[in-house]
């Protein structure tokens, strides 16, 4: 029977992870992820979590321990934030190149210096190229559902890659919301036992990570790319199966909100994506023909879906991150997807860095500026430069 749990994003993520019965959780606490691993530790205490919980001495070790465990064919989970994620960087590449489906929550937090524990997305955006699949959530229910779906997706024989589920510090990680929690046996049926693509075992000795020559290495990278492309097809399938079994749907690669007849489509992610729905409601009331496409997945990047949007509307992109010296990641990748396929205009804004609040009012203001053509060729710093 489905029950309702009212709790914070972190405790909800802990619940979802434990329901997938990972064999090993290795974690190191960091604000604002702390209550996630604390939540799992609580389940060790209550006996609900029966796996191995390894307290390690750093995030680099946390990921290394998950990699070691995953190499033996078992299910693994961890969580981190900001500097913790950055300390894992080497091991993130390692997990992906080894094709090990480690599942991890990352709570989006600002990077220092400038000590700041509020949210922005530069931590996970800076790990885009590691080969991990990346999801961005906008509610606690979506966190819960996405964590469970991530185990199924990452461990799928056509993918076998690690998955990162990101959500915003405090706005989601420490905010309580009611979440529907399904029966354990229904989760068991949805996420089957992991069948590893390879594993270390005494009966079948192999060496892993040996020397590899240039041609073979290039093929490893190519097969990773193909696995990400497979995920593009599998994410919608898994979301559909979830909807059929549990009745909830948060979108697949993107979540479309009131896009019918829209002349402008707003693209945003995470908590700003949730706030954007309120802005779209208000803008439509005022007569603006604008809809929302909330980007849930940036790796693999939903190129085809973005092109479809660009063929029917001009696009407005809000980034809570910046690749300094260029622009926000979503802005760049949306334009890159459209190149040569449509002549849609793409308006870009940078907003909410350092945890700066982005309200529906702010989003409405940005959209209105874009729709009135009052943007620039570069991505506009909302609130910091006149347009």
């Amino acid at each position: 029977m489905t029950s309702v749990m009212i709790d914070t994003g972190n405790y909800i993520a802990a619940k979802a992870a434990v329901m997938c019965k990972p064999d090993v959780v290795a974690a190191y606490p960091i604000t604002p992820q702390t209550t996630l691993v604390e939540g799992i530790a609580n389940y060790v205490g209550t006996g609900e979590f029966k796996g191995e919980y390894i307290c390690v001495e750093s995030e680099h070790s946390a990921m290394a321990a998950c990699i070691g465990a995953s190499s033996t064919g078992v299910r693994t989970f961890t969580g981190t934030s900001s500097h913790g994620l950055l300390l894992m960087h080497e091991m993130l590449h390692w997990a992906a190149l080894a094709r090990l489906p480690v599942i991890m929550c990352n709570i989006n937090r600002v990077i220092g210096p400038g000590w700041n524990i509020w949210t922005d997305e530069n931590d996970s955006i800076s790990q885009r190229d590691t080969g991990w699949l990346q999801f961005y959530c906008s509610s606690n229910q979506e966190i819960f559902d996405t964590v469970i779906q991530a185990f199924k997706l990452g461990e799928h024989e056509k993918v076998s890659l690690p998955v990162m589920i990101s959500y915003n510090a405090f706005i989601l990680s420490h905010t309580s919301m009611p979440v529907y929690v399904p029966d354990q046996k229904d989760v068991d049926n949805f996420v089957k036992k992991r069948i590893p693509k390879w594993k270390l075992e005494v009966e079948n000795p192999i060496t892993f990570g040996n020397i590899i020559l240039p041609h073979e290495y290039e093929l490893v990278r190519k097969e990773m790319q193909e696995a990400q492309e497979n995920a593009l097809k599998l994410i919608p399938e898994i979301a559909k199966e979830w909807k059929k079994k549990f009745g909830r749907f948060h979108g697949d690669l993107l979540e479309f909100y009131k896009c019918e007849g829209a002349e402008y489509i707003l693209l945003s992610m995470g908590a700003i994506g949730a706030e954007s729905k309120v802005a779209i409601d208000n803008l439509q009331k005022e007569g603006y023909k604008i809809g929302l496409a909330r980007v849930r997945v940036i790796r693999p990047f939903p190129i085809e879906e973005i092109v479809k949007l660009g063929k029917k509307a001009d696009l407005i992109v809000i980034d809570r991150n910046i690749s300094v010296g260029m622009e926000g990641a979503l802005f760049s990748e949306v334009k890159s997807s459209l190149y040569g396929k449509t002549d849609a205009k793409v308006h870009g804004f940078i907003a909410g860095l350092g945890g700066k609040d982005v309200t529906f009012g702010d989003i409405e203001t940005m959209c209105k500026k874009a729709m009135k053509g009052k943007t620039k060729d570069h991505q506009v710093w909302y609130g910091l430069e006149e347009v």
Binding site: L97, I206, F208, G209, N210, L219, V220, E223
Partner: protein, 90 residues
Amino acid sequence: MKKYDVRTTISYPTKGAMGKTGNWRVFTPILDKKKCVKCLRCWIYCPEATVIRNKDDTVDIDYEYCKGCGICADVCKVKAIVMERVGEKE
């Protein structure tokens, strides 16, 4: 042998995966079987498994793959193995 259908860096147990490494040798272990007491320390310590253990616990050296590291000579308590520079005797 179990093989896995995934492109990553898995190596399966196989003889001489890196080719005939015997030609890497600068020093060659020379075994004097008359001195050998069959303690098998050389067989235990050889990092390349190129000391071959016979049924009667005598040993032979596989010169096709022995890289000449000299560990066997070092651990031999009766000095039945000595290292000679390649080409010195010829």
